[in-house]
Amino acid sequence: MDFDYLKQKRILLVDDEQELLDMVCSILSEDGFQKIATAKTMKEAVALSSAYHPELAILDVMLPDGNGFDLMEQLKRTSDYPVLFLTARGEDEDKFRGFGLGADDYMVKPFLPKELLFRVNAILRRSYKGENPLVRLSGCEIDFERAEVIKNEERLPLTAKEHDILTCLYRNAGRIVTIDALCEAAWGDNPYGYENSLMAHVRRIREKIETNPSRPVSLITMKGLGYKLIVEGR
């Protein structure tokens, strides 16, 4: 399975409510995650961080002995792993503060298990993509590290733009990514007027990854909205 290596990641879960910890644990373990450690206070979390070497932290903002933002600062001082915030405070300021300090994502309670899993998987995929160079699609495999598509024993190189577009789609595998987000991924912050170029790139990507480029099964068009990448094993 392509994502098995991600399921082996050590996850640190910090929240002051035992029931919430139990629930998140159950959601994660049901999805296949096996290495989960939980902490209820900042102190416990800091101790666990140095002993357990987590590869992803899911932090609550409100903790009995401090707030999650301070905790993240402390954790990041000693090691560098991605952080996802879970909070009951939906205020924008918190959001900006969280991202300003280097949080990787942010979720406001309450949330569906699906949303949580999507974000956890997306963060892990983004942060540890180098560890699993091969992504299996229906008709080929993609080696993101070497920017190559392996189809029928043949290695087809990806251009820089094709690589950018595919990376963005892969991070959101199974979900629609808007035209605008893809243009931004490929052409940067002011991505207006690249829609036609994007279509051309998508056509060339399909020629490389699809068995039958005129009937795509891996890179699906959502008319007017964007594209979706279907990854095997999802």
């Binding site: 409510e17 029931e19 919430l20 629930m23 998140v24 159950s26 959601i27 049901e30 009951a88 405070r89 939906g90 205020e91 924008d92 406001v108 309670k109 309450p110 949330f111 569906l112 298990p113 699906k114 949303e115 949580l116 979900r175 629609i176 990514v177 808007t178 035209i179 605008d180 987000a181 207006y192 007027g193 829609e195 959502m222 008319k223 007017g224 909205l225 964007g226």
Partner: protein
């Protein structure tokens, strides 16, 4: 400040009027007073009467009994000076001793103009002499030099007029000087009162004639500011209370939603059980949306939500919201059709990205909430000359004309302090309206062309 010049004009008018009235009154009083006085010419006439009634015979001169009595009544003495001898030729019995008995011509001239020994004297002519009446010393005052400069008399009207003008000017000057001080102190008071209706704090320096008024204005302003602060505090408390409650609900709701979500996907359960879990998920999602809306709507209501506007592409934003819904739509009962022209790739508006996403998201959520049986939602963006419009139209149950009229006009229960049955419920559309208003846009609710519900959200286009 228009009232102040009007006030000054009125004051001057009143002043001039009272000036004229006073002059008229004085003249009238003088006239009435002098009329009651004895005429000045009457002793002269009496003297002439005496002269006329003085008769001469061989024994000398005689005055009639009646005239004699009359003179005695008034305590008047009389003498007759003979023309030839310049001696007193006749006299009344009560002649004071100090009156001389012989006169020179210069004496005559003197007594005609003035007095004999302090007695005011009046003369009357007879054929060969001069009758002189002497009145009591305090009876008359005689003007010794009854002559005037001719020019003075000739110029009298002019002189009187110019004196009058000088008087009026003087009074006016006194008024202006006295009042300019008053006006100087009135001006800040007037400014202060005019500034009171604006909600800012007002301070008028408490000095000058009207310092008490200034103090009252300052006090009033202080009270207004205090009330404003109190109101603000109350509103903050309310918004904070709502924020607190919604925060406290989020954690328990996470548990409900999380476990129900797991059960919904649990392959070990049968369809009916999973269906029940799906209902719990759906209802907890509704509660989540309600909490989010309640929190934001109360913040917008009390201006506690910062609007972080920047130029954003409305097409991209709406597209992202649609995709977010599609990525989350589990049962596929609410497909969304993207109906935006392919040529329209950018539609710049100045807006807060998160708020706008909430607004469009609420419109789509609204279609889903009201069409449990499923419906297709058509979302589109159009660009006109100076505005961008997002339309969200479904082919679901729709609403009656009456309901739509009420949605467009009736107040929401959040905005309304009356408890009438006519109020609207549901925060979704209220929030959309608030967000539109915060961005200078409008919301129109109507019938969809496919029989369902239609909402259009229009924003002014950003420059450039």
């Amino acid at each position: 400040m228009k009232s102040v010049p009007r006030l000054i004009r009125r004051f001057i008018g009143i002043l001039l009027l009272s000036f004229l009235l006073l002059a008229a009154l004085n003249i009238t009083l003088l006239f009435l007073y002098t009329r009651s006085q004895l005429p000045n010419s009457y002793p002269w006439k009496t003297a002439e009467e005496v002269a006329g009634q003085l008769s001469q015979d061989e024994n000398g001169y005689h005055l009639s009994e009646k005239m004699t009595r009359e003179l005695e009544d008034f305590d008047v003495w009389a003498i007759l000076i003979d023309n030839d001898t310049m001696q007193v030729a006749w006299q009344t019995n009560d002649l004071p001793e100090s009156v001389p008995m012989s006169y020179s011509i210069s004496d005559i001239a003197g007594l005609t103009r003035g007095y004999i020994d302090g007695y005011p004297t009046f003369t009357g002519e007879i054929e060969n002499g001069l009758v002189v009446l002497g009145y009591p010393k305090d009876g008359f005052w005689k003007h010794m030099w009854p002559s005037w400069d001719y020019k003075l008399i000739a110029d009298l009207p002019k002189t009187v007029l110019s004196i009058l003008v000088i008087n009026v000017t003087l009074v006016f000057l006194i008024y202006v000087v006295a009042n300019s001080k008053l006006l100087r102190s009135v001006k800040p008071i007037v400014n202060g009162i005019q500034a009171l209706p604006s909600e800012d704090a007002v301070y008028v320096p408490e000095r000058g004639l009207l310092c008490e008024l200034a103090a009252s204005i300052n006090k009033t302003s202080e009270i207004l500011q205090h009330q404003k602060r109190q109101l603000c505090k109350k509103e903050n408390a309310r918004a904070n209370w709502i924020a607190g409650v919604s925060h406290d609900i989020r954690t328990p709701l996470s548990m409900v939603m999380g476990y129900a979500g797991q059960l919904r996907e649990d392959a070990g359960l049968n369809d009916a059980q999973r269906q029940k879990a799906a209902v719990i998920v759906k209802q907890s999602e509704r509660m989540r949306n309600l909490i989010n809306d309640l929190n934001l709507t109360s913040k917008l209501e009390y201006n506690m939500q910062p609007i972080r506007s920047r130029t954003i592409n409305l097409v991209a934003l709406v597209r992202q919201v649609v995709v977010d819904f599609l990525n989350l739509d589990v049962d596929g009962r609410h497909p969304i059709e993207w109906e935006t022209s392919e040529n329209l790739t950018a539609c710049p508006v100045n807006a807060d990205e998160n708020l706008l996403k909430r607004a469009v998201g609420n419109l789509i959520q609204n279609c889903i909430n009201h069409n449990g049986q499923g419906c297709t939602i058509h979302v589109g963006v159009t660009k006109d000359e100076d505005k961008c419009t997002v339309s969200v139209i479904d082919d679901g149950l729709g609403a009656t004309d009456e309901q739509i009229k009420r949605l467009n006009n009736a107040p929401h229960y959040m905005d309304c302090d009356e408890t009438t049955a006519e109020q609207r419920h549901g925060l979704g559309l209220l929030l959309v309206r608030q967000i539109a208003a915060a961005h200078g846009g409008t919301v129109t609710i109507g019938h969809g062309i496919r029989g369902g519900f239609s909402v259009t959200f229009t924003l002014p286009m950003a420059d450039g």
